[in-house]
Symmetry: D2
Subunit: 149 residues, 4 copies
Amino acid sequence: MTRTTILHRVPFYETDAMGIVHHANYVRYLELVRIAWMDEHDRPYREYVRDGLHFSTTRVDLRYVRSSGFDDVLHVMTWLEWVAGASLGMGYEIDRDGVRVAEGLTEHAMVDTSGRPRRIPAEHRERFRGLARASGGSRTRRGTVDRSR
Amino acid sequence: MTRTTILHRVPFYETDAMGIVHHANYVRYLELVRIAWMDEHDRPYREYVRDGLHFSTTRVDLRYVRSSGFDDVLHVMTWLEWVAGASLGMGYEIDRDGVRVAEGLTEHAMVDTSGRPRRIPAEHRERFRGLARASGGSRTRRGTVDRSR
Amino acid sequence: MTRTTILHRVPFYETDAMGIVHHANYVRYLELVRIAWMDEHDRPYREYVRDGLHFSTTRVDLRYVRSSGFDDVLHVMTWLEWVAGASLGMGYEIDRDGVRVAEGLTEHAMVDTSGRPRRIPAEHRERFRGLARASGGSRTRRGTVDRSR
Amino acid sequence: MTRTTILHRVPFYETDAMGIVHHANYVRYLELVRIAWMDEHDRPYREYVRDGLHFSTTRVDLRYVRSSGFDDVLHVMTWLEWVAGASLGMGYEIDRDGVRVAEGLTEHAMVDTSGRPRRIPAEHRERFRGLARASGGSRTRRGTVDRSR
């Protein structure tokens, strides 16, 4: 299984005056599950950081389907959609009790500590290729990624 | 002029350990400029809130072009892309010293305090129609909005 | 045992450009462990919320002893220091690998949904009294609470 | 005048499900006004950062007197309470329409980029001494600072 799911119990400080989770917080949930995915499928992200490498976020596209609130337990799932020489794309689904709350994608470029683009180290890129193939990606979401830009 | 620009001076607490603004914060910048846009072109958002109405965010799509850092002054600009009976779309450009930092779009659905969809009150919808026409929208960005979903 | 400890693994989005956890985030950690303490020793906080009651925060006093960084696992511990008719005080210690990172206290007043002070319901106040006695409080920290204000 | 005041208009994303500003955000307001104070009375904080120096926060003590909500305009005021060789203390008052919302203090230690304590550069320390004398400090708040630790 090449997908990773974390449970996130919504803290009070992530809610807003509409009584629901503020939409900007979901972008953070995507980061939480990405870190967990790397733990599980690649290597702890802190090891990239120690090597002076970061997966800089170049795109976030999130669709909010239903709201969630304080103390809800969210299932946040991610998988690798695609990988290129110096970038990769992840897909996401966020559910609560089996009902879709949000879905989206992010894109990332590998950079060094001064922000310059770097190729993903070969061994990791190879592993990512296998993972992207195995996860199958999601045709629908892939279609929303505009690679021509 | 139907566009609104705010200046945002980056606080230290919006930076992360890469030494740059954490990408999730840009979603908040979009909210800041939306509020300013409503002040300028429609009515203060707090008046919608007092009437028990909210523009719930249903989509955020952000492309990060360059990083920004502590104490940078960002120009965050927004305009109305389109409006429908109960929803609307906004476009955004974020620049620093005339250089593009990020660009994106958001979509919103009008809801009441219990989260049920509501039509945008007629007089505001009418004004929004005029604003969307006048701003011209951005063909490129509009093309990335998948309305068929 | 009347103390509650949670583990918090530091996400990247809680770090700042000093390369460490931004100090404002620790205030959130206190909330996380308070919620866990209520689960364990009183009742889930969401049940207070459903009854239209909140423990509004009236004071936060935090001393930062050492920094922590991305992916550190923090042990965040809390206990009830004291309880009065409509308010209570909690103590906190945050450690990493057995080393003190921060310590502090918070004070809270029970309010209803319109923010008016309310007495803590008798059965809960009684339970809190027992918990405060059992935890013993911390003389040192108690000394820093200025109750005369 | 040795005090600095900024206006902060509360964004929606700083509210919580109680319908008010979440208490953790006030810690950020203190940082915003500290930066403005340095601009006005010392030098832009980014210049310290460029020199590899930071005023690390070692204590935050905040008392919340009244709540505030979306779109409220807060007056956030700060002054220098005291300065020592490698640390300093600031006082704060936050008002809305002339009514006290919160008040507090913070303490800071100068550190280098690896977190080691550093003396405040002599010329700045001298200026700070003058500012602390001139602001007079606030006896009441000063009393709550436990310097014996």
